[in-house]
Symmetry: C2
C-alpha cells in the first residue's frame, strides 16, 4: 500500500476557520467518522471537542474526546495504533466530521481492523472478522 500523503499543518487562521464551521452539540462534541483514506474502509466512529479537533489538525495525529474518561484520547497513545490525518471533511450541516486517515495496525480495541464487525448472520448477531492482534498485546498491564 502506498504511504499516506504527508500532512501539512494549516495556518492557525485556517484551523480557526474549520473549527468555526463545525456545529458542536450541547455537550460541546461532534461525531467523527474515521475512514482509511485509500481503501475506503470505515474504521470507527468517536467524538471530538474543539480542543481534540484543534490538536488533530495541528499535529496531524488524530485525537478524540473520550466520553467515558472525560479526557482527550490520543488514538494509539496506549496501543501504538495511531491514525495519521490525511484530510478532514465537514458535512453539509457542519455537525459531523469525516476524517480520512492512515491507520497504523488496527483501529478497534478488540484487535480487529475496524469496529463494525457485527451483523446478522443465520438469524443471530455474529462477528464477521476475527481479531488480528490480541487485545492484551494492545493494552498490556
Amino acid at each position: 500500500m502506498p504511504n499516506a500523503p504527508t500532512y501539512t499543518t494549516p495556518p492557525a487562521a485556517a484551523i480557526d476557520a474549520l473549527l468555526g464551521a463545525v456545529s458542536f452539540d450541547s455537550a460541546g462534541l461532534v461525531p467523527v467518522i474515521a475512514q482509511q483514506h485509500d481503501t475506503g474502509e470505515v474504521l470507527m466512529m468517536a467524538w471530538a471537542n474543539g480542543e481534540a479537533l484543534r490538536e488533530t489538525l495541528t499535529t496531524g495525529r488524530v485525537c478524540y474526546w473520550s466520553r467515558s474518561r472525560k479526557a482527550l484520547w490520543r488514538k494509539g497513545e496506549s496501543s501504538g495504533q495511531v491514525q495519521r490525518l490525511v484530510d478532514a471533511r465537514i458535512d453539509c450541516d457542519g455537525d459531523t466530521l469525516l476524517l480520512l486517515v492512515d491507520q497504523t495496525g488496527v483501529a478497534c480495541h478488540t484487535g480487529r481492523h475496524n469496529c463494525f464487525f457485527q451483523a446478522l448472520r443465520g438469524g443471530r448477531v455474529a462477528a464477521l472478522a476475527r481479531p488480528l492482534v490480541d487485545p492484551e498485546q494492545l493494552y498490556p498491564g
Copy 2:
C-alpha cells in the same frame, strides 16, 4: 455499476436480536453512518431510534429519526433519493451503526452525492463537490 444484492428481511426474532445488541443513547437514539456498499463512499451520518431501525431492517429501505422534525425520516420519501439496505453492521460497543446501502441519486439535501464535501483548501473552508441536482428539484414546492 452492478445492482445491489437483493435484501432479504430477516425473521422477526433476528431483528429483535440486532435491536437488542444496540446501545441507544439517553435520547433513545444511535448514530448511523450510511456507506455506499460497492464504492465505499461515506454518504451521510444521521440518527435512528428503535422504531426507525426496525422499519429499516423490515422493509430494506433506510429510515432515520429526524431530530429536528422529531419524526421518522424515510430517506427519499420527499426527494425520491432512497437508500436500499444491503447490510447493517454494529460496532464493537454497540453504540454506532454502519449501514451498507445502495443510494438512488444523491444522498445530500444540497444535491451533492454525499454530505462530506467541505474541507480546508487554500486556508479556507471550501466545497469540494458541486451539486449534481438542483435542491429545488429534490424538494419542490
